[in-house]
Symmetry: C2
Subunit: 474 residues, 2 copies
């Protein structure tokens, strides 16, 4: 999605040298890297947004170092961009103008878990999956489960307000963040939020900072609310002849008052891509839904899953396969996880979208995406968190020569989403990938207000520059 | 809690006349009131924060009128303060400096309820209970249930980020607000947020605006997320010999992994006050907990409530009375609702606190509150949403001569709360009542950042002036 005309201006080398000298007085030798391999590694994320190498990468180990780095960058007029595990899908951590990449990955301690208070305090570099496992070991549950949970970090989850399949029932990252230690763009450190579950003292800056995509500062400590671990989970794979049947079933399940923790859709293209990779779909399968329910009483759950199966059958489901144990559950989820790599294997290139529509519009958006793909001659695979209307529509293509067509398809997809009352990003963020599309959804007065808010927090404009908002004419 | 030295300066009468003339060109005659009775009615709320009459009260009927009112007030240099049903507990809607009270109560239409999308769109003057009933009639559920739900409005709930007993399981107002039409202090109208359940496009201004206590603008349309109505609810009253036993039981229930939708504590003073008012407690009862569980399968719920009863018994509960039908449920909740008026009948005056501590600290805070009351010779009644650590500690007293002692008790209570890792307000807001205490909890840099943020949104400083933050020396 890189637009040459909007190519950002890189920082002057002399400034980089000066900030590097200043930082080498604050950091030890191993905390500052400039070798080619490191710069190349920090030049990309998991979006398809381009390659933007930083001029140096720093690895602070405590809050004071983060603060000192921010201050030095402002003092020397050098752009600085925080990053975590670089698993982002919207280019949020790419250092567009070069300068300093500030990696939080060495701040990776779980500072405390309180069973009595149902809270955890973590550093931003903690891998999400490591926290999940640590709290589950003491009977607690951290629900947000972005697909990259085995490698992404909680600081990145906070920056992007990450979601995941379980968001349907349990909400997203911001629903679990109650307090933050936050380094503002000028290096000042503030503690916002609280350590209690409830609280309304002062403005909700936690709410504003979570999801600010690394443009308003960075978290150096995160206080999370946890919940009791559900004692029982049941998982089923429901097979449908077509994706429209599956989409209608998702709507019908929710309209009937059921609230599974996940309702993941797999369309025909995705299903064919994964079929036979560790799991054999029954003949005639044209789409599938992975449904998962959880709770504390086993009886109620069987009842819930059985009602869900009945509703799906009424909508044309041919089969509901219920996992009988953990290894079967794992097998069903492996199907979901392998979709993205399996689609990549179908065609040389793939872009992944992250749209959300009101839940009643799920069947319609799927139908229109199919039609659009056919009209443009592109393969469109749609899967994802259909239960909350958040679909990952993927466009598969042959190579750069098809990119203009793909860009046209993306544009149409986002226009259609907004027409249907939806949003252009459900959980990946705007970052670089979608900044030119934000104006489809948000009115000029709102864009202007947010630009001014960014300038309020970051008057130098050096923190993670040129993200989220459409580039103004230079 | 009024401090004469900090008494706000009222706006000059000439300015009031000028804005009144300007507003009479925008509003019809019945939308602008200046009679004594109206001014007196809009001079107070349900806090004990003093009497501050506005110079006029306006009743806009649409967004354009709200915008025009804000613009006129800024143009003429007149303070303006939004209000709803004036059931606030922290003085948030009191027009401290006089000027214009902007009542949103005539904007009271439920614009839409979508069963398929699980959303509702309402105007700010809709009474919370009216929305609850309307969505329950179509099988949906709006969980936040502030005690005043029969009279408070959703606009007020948004301004204060209102909670309630069900917050324990279901969260507070902000967890259900997904979109807002918002009139900024200068009268500009922006649409923030979205109509979908999920979404991360741009900064989370919904998060910032909910709970901003009428100081950053006002909602003229609110889009709410709903959930399916739980099919089954079970309510029990658990009786304990002492409040410490009850507090320990609350902690033990949560530590055991149960998540009831409510766990309401009633201490000895509150219990004696309500005993015999429609409900007779068994002999020896020194405290009680109202526990409520909900879900979709009846079997699981009985199991959950029975485990809860067992845990309470281990902590010394003498009895668990389970409501057998809706009329018995209603009788138990009537006990909870009558606490506040019953305490008022015990002594001529009462102030109600709204503190939150980490859940593990509930027994300790209750013990320390009792001891403090004894030391100062004041009656302290503690009840409320113990499950999430949010306690309403009430101080009962004889009259104005005891007020200095009461103020000392309040100060000690808030200092203790912060020492225990808690917050000075769980759901009532800071407003006027607690603005001098915010500095106990929040560091100077954070207070300064928030003051600057207020000035960013409201450079004239005329919208709901002198709230939330400690008054600076004049």
């Amino acid at each position: 999605m890189s637009d040459v005309s909007a190519r950002p201006v890189r920082v002057e080398p002399e400034r980089v040298e000066r900030v590097c000298e200043a930082l080498s007085r604050v950091l030890s030798a191993g905390q500052l890297k400039r070798d080619e391999a490191t710069l190349a590694a920090y030049a990309r994320d998991e979006s398809d947004s381009g390659v933007f190498p930083p001029d140096l990468v720093v690895f602070p180990e405590d809050t004071a170092q983060v603060s000192a780095i921010f201050k030095a960058c402002v003092a020397h007029g050098v752009p600085y961009t925080p990053c975590g595990a670089r698993t982002g899908k919207s280019g949020g951590s790419l250092p567009l103008c070069g300068g300093v990449a500030v990696s939080l990955e060495r701040m990776n301690r779980i500072r405390s878990i309180s069973v009595e208070d149902l809270t955890a305090v973590v550093e931003p570099g903690v891998v999400t999956g490591d926290l999940m496992k640590a709290v589950e070991a003491v009977g607690l549950f951290y629900p947000p489960d972005p697909n990259s949970w085995e490698s992404c970090t909680l600081g990145g989850n906070v920056a992007e307000n990450a979601g995941g399949p379980r968001a349907l029932k349990y909400g997203v990252t911001r629903d679990y963040v109650i307090g933050l230690e936050w380094v503002l763009p000028d290096g000042e450190v503030v503690k916002v939020g609280r350590r209690t579950i409830k609280g309304v003292a002062g403005y909700d800056l936690v709410g504003l900072f979570v999801g600010s995509e690394g443009t308003l500062g960075v978290a150096t400590e995160i206080t999370l609310q946890l919940i009791p671990l559900p004692r029982k989970v049941l998982t089923a794979l429901v097979v449908f002849p077509s994706v429209l049947d599956a989409a209608r079933a998702v709507s019908a399940v929710l309209a009937a008052g059921l609230l599974p923790r996940c309702l993941e859709l797999i369309d025909d293209v995705a299903l064919r891509a994964v079929d036979g990779r560790g799991f054999q779909f029954p003949p005639g399968a044209g789409a599938a839904v992975i449904a998962e329910v959880d709770g504390h009483g086993a009886e109620g759950l069987f009842e819930e899953l059985s009602r869900l199966g009945d509703i799906c059958a009424q909508q044309g489901a041919s089969q509901t396969l219920v996992a009988q144990d953990d290894s079967q559950r794992e097998k069903l989820w492996a199907v979901r996880r392998v979709i993205s790599p399996a689609l990549r294997a179908l065609k040389p290139r793939k872009v992944s979208e992250d749209i959300v529509v009101p839940r009643s519009r799920i069947p319609e958006v799927i139908e229109r995406l199919k039609a659009m793909g056919e009209e443009l001659g592109l393969t469109v695979a749609t899967y994802g968190h259909a239960g909350d209307g958040n679909l990952h529509a993927n466009i598969l293509y042959e190579g750069p020569h098809q990119r203009p067509l793909v860009d046209e398809a993306l544009r149409r997809m986002l226009v259609m989403t907004v027409e249907l009352g939806g949003t252009i990003t459900g959980e990946h963020g705007v970052g670089l990938a979608k900044r030119e599309f934000l104006a489809l959804e948000q009115q000029p007065a709102l864009l202007e207000l947010q630009r001014r808010l960014k300038a309020f927090f970051d008057p130098s404009g050096l923190l993670n520059p040129e993200k989220i908002f459409p580039v103004l004419k230079r």
